[in-house]
Amino acid sequence: MMKTTQTAKKAKNNVIKRIDILTLFPDMVNSAFQESIISRAVSKDILKINCHQIRKYTTNKQGKVDDYPYSGGPGLVMAYQPIADCIRSVSAECDSTPYVIYMSPQGNPFNQKKAQELVQKENLMILCGHYEGIDERVLEEFIDEEVSLGDFVLTGGEIPAMAVADCVARLIPGVLAEGSAEKESHTGLLLEYPQYTRPAEIEGKKIPEILLSGKHDEIEKWQVKTAEERTKLKRPDLYEIYEEEKLNSQTYYFDNSATTRQADVVTEEMCRTVKFLYGNPSSLHHMGLEAERRLTEARKTIAETIGAAEKEIYFTSCATESNNWAIKGYLEANPRAGKKVLISATEHPSVLETAQSLTKSGYTVGFLPVDSKGIVDIEELKKAVTADTAVISVMHVNSETGAIQPIKEIANAAKAINPNVMVHSDCVQSYGKLQVNAKALGVDMLSVSAHKIHGPRGVGFLYVKDGIRIAPLLCGGGQEKALRSGTENLPAIAGFSVIAKQANEKIKEHEEHVKELNIIFREILTEEIRACNVISSDECCPYVLNVAFPGLRAEVIQHSVEQKGVYISVGSACSSHKKDRSPTLTSMGYNNNVIDGAIRISFTYQNTAEQVKFAAKVICAEVKKLYARRKGRR
């Protein structure tokens, strides 16, 4: 319903004044507009409706408007000339170029939304076809849009034209009594609530009591509730759209580093794959081959996004799997590579815990310290790398702060000392957001997950540079070059490839947009809250903004703002499973007072400046409240 009022407002700027209907049966159409509300609109001069006889424009003596189709077959086709002349002549009468629609089952479906679009065209011309149709060249030359009333066939376009004209006309302000179009069926995506008229009781049937209560607020709530209920029951398709709009309009989601909303293009691709490509890529028959082709295509698409070869991409179920496999799999396949594993002090648990688990097998784990901006110190790295260093793993973009690690320098510096060291990077937070090129980064392996860039859950990949040996993660049917057996998750992989391509093509565009959002957010917070401590530096990846409100508890801030529909995450503890502080902020030198008050705001290119402003205002308001309360404590 919110949507309706918006469109209604917009409509006031530009409203339809004139409808021209081109037909072979003007009497039939005219009769419809001489009754009820439409005739009132015409007599009040709010709207002009004219019908034009196409036959009048024919140059041929017999008044013939149609002829046999070239392709043969039954029926007659309306000819080009009379229609063309009719359209040209009527257009000349109009104040502005009319928007010409042709009624045809091949057209875009007509619905309330379409009506709201059409009501904004100052001049609308509706061409009604008849017989077998009209000469295709008319469509090419004159028609702006084909519109269909539904999936059925009528003898001519007159009845649909009448329907369209009626529906559009009643949206013109002043045609109906003020407000009565507002809550009607479909306008607000919901069907109308039930209607009753006097008497309040008839044949033992009573109207709902609430309608007699006189409580307008309650009645309005009842109307929305019943409208929702009956839409859900009678038109689940409409209800789904309504639910989505409702969720989107009330949700300010800034936790995109945790996960993102799956893009519709991904869902569509996945549905297509599920429905049509359900063969197993390993099967020898045609359906297996079709599935395998899709898999190969997806692998190729994804390989291209990081400048790798197809054979260097191994699909996994998530980045945690990729990270585990990269480190353990490498060490298993290269037992003589060394006994030391170096990771940065700010790694994700899937790298940190993996490395720590290796201590049981005789490996030592070294932590590369970071500076106050969270960046690995290259000099420290040089000191740490020895001939015994087998693996270095440093994440590209930190998930908590957005700090971008100089992966290339790290790889170069490490390899200068020990050319055999395997350099791995967890690129979960950078892929699709910054340029991630395997060769440019100089890494041997890198991990990626799909769901951080509006892709599906349950799929990711590990890039393994050609020539680097890795032990199989899963043994079995030989999928993924026998290194990661198990039937491929084709729907997710296909969906991933679609969004991977899209995201990587628009990296610059998205980054600029998100950077703007990040700046707006930052400015509002720092201007309004003096105590605000911005942890993410200007050089950080703009998709993440970590700010601390010292003395407050991030979890409380998070719960306070979620009541207003704003979703952010706590800046440090990484999940609901663990209560400990993550080491990232600690290793950057922050004290617990700051860390406990740190929140993480993470963006997607789908966020808008309006959303950012709203969310920032909500956070400021709640933070101020929390600080004020805190003063009560001694």
């Binding site: 409380v556 209560k579 309360r629 009560g632 404590r633």
Partner: protein, 405 residues
């Protein structure tokens, strides 16, 4: 599975399987015994409602669960009954006519089943109870005769050992005869609903669910009050409490949880009252609200998980102050228990794993650094005047959300 069934067909008919359940304290009841018995039968039926059709009847301190057809889920039924208060033990048993030949044949089948664990030799004994006094042999004779039949049937594989046998075959000769080898423990106590209703203050920790269980065991129906401090605690913390209520509810026929919005009261205490007394003042406010809920829901006592000295708010002095806030008895079934004892029960009743999930509950969020361990009632009452508790508690009471668990 198929094979097993085919084998069964030749021996005992699965349809002749029933569940025998024994009662404890109810048997000691006087003239009102039948109300307890009826209540227990009702509770058993409710517990078995998801297991399929069956009949529950009782006679002479024994309850009999008789499946109506083959789709009855026998193992699930055993599990469900082992949580019904009022029962002390249950046995899956086979039933046959009270004729010596039938009993002997059934005993052989039961022994055969007991000997299917892969051992080479088994020792056994037989215990007989003869309720049917018209049966021509007395109990020791039946045991001896049937024992003889078994030794004859299984020859060298079987031996009698009355002190430490591998299995015992129990034979109960009544109108029909029941033969079984297993006696499974049931919780004892009194049938739920036979002893009125109590109102449990549930927090999400380890103690309060156990306290609820202990009281429920005595036949008390429960409802619960939870104090919710959103946004200072999370929705997950609330879900956790509801989950705990569901688990405890399994033992007492479900419970309603009254979720009280408590944030404003906590903030007011935090702001206006002395920090070292804030916990006691908070507990007192909780008691007052809980008492109103209790009266509204027809409960006649409050139940808490407090135990002497466990934390600052549970010292004798603090408990004295808390107790004073309510005009209703406050039962504290864990009062003399150690944490380890409580944990053991929590594990047994299945609440422990949920209780230790890491979401903060309402007790821990506003914890002062140095709470007073020996508060005096007069200073607490004085401190309480600083905030308008009546108004705030009215508002909290109005805002209660009721959830059936």
């Amino acid at each position: 599975m198929q094979e097993e069934k085919a084998e069964d067909k030749t021996g005992v008919d699965e349809m002749d399987r029933i569940i025998l359940a024994r009662i404890g304290e109810i048997a000691l009841k006087g003239l009102n015994r039948c109300t307890f018995e009826q209540r227990l039968a009702r509770n058993m039926k409710a517990a078995l409602s998801d297991c399929g059709e069956c009949k529950v009847r009782w006679s002479q301190s024994r309850y009999f669960v008789e499946p109506a057809n083959e789709s009855f889920q026998f193992d699930k039924a055993l599990e469900m009954l082992s949580g019904v208060f009022g029962l002390v033990s249950i046995s899956p048993a086979y039933v046959t006519k009270s004729e010596y030949a039938d009993i002997s044949a059934l005993a052989k089948e039961v022994a055969k089943k007991a000997m299917s664990t892969g051992k080479e030799k088994y020792t056994f004994k037989i215990e007989t109870k003869r309720g049917l006094k018209t049966f021509p042999m007395n109990s020791p004779t039946i045991s001896a005769e049937i024992g003889g039949d078994l030794l004859e049937a299984f020859g060298g594989k079987l031996k009698v050992d009355v002190n430490n046998p591998d299995f015992i075959i129990y034979i109960e000769v009544r109108e029909s005869t029941y033969v079984y080898t297993e006696i499974l423990e049931a919780p004892g106590g009194m049938p739920t609903g036979s002893n009125g209703k109590g109102c449990l203050l549930i927090s999400g920790g380890i103690d309060s669910p156990v306290a609820g269980y202990m009281i429920a065991k005595r036949g008390v129906s429960l409802c619960a009050v939870h104090f919710y401090s959103y946004p200072y605690t999370s929705e997950r913390a609330k879900d956790k409490v509801l989950e705990l209520a569901k688990i405890v509810g399994r033992y007492c026929g479900g419970m309603k949880v009254f979720v009280v919005p408590f944030t404003d009261i906590q903030l007011a205490i935090d702001e206006k009252c002395r920090e070292e007394l804030s916990t006691v003042i908070m507990r007192r406010s909780m008691m007052r609200i809980a008492e109103r809920v209790a009266r509204k829901s027809g409960s006649s006592a409050l139940i808490t998980g407090e135990s002497v000295g466990q934390v600052a708010s549970q010292t004798m002095q603090a408990l004295y102050c808390t107790d004073n806030a309510a005009d209703m008895p406050i039962f504290r079934p864990l009062i003399g228990m150690d944490k380890m004892e409580v944990v053991a029960i929590a594990r047994k009743i299945g609440t422990f794993e949920t209780s230790i999930l890491p979401y903060e509950d309402c007790c821990t969020v506003f914890t002062p650094k140095h709470p007073k361990t020996r508060p005096s009632l007069s200073e607490v009452l004085e401190e309480e005047k600083k905030a308008d508790f009546i108004a705030m508690e009215n508002e909290a009471f109005e805002g209660i959300e009721v959830i059936q668990c």
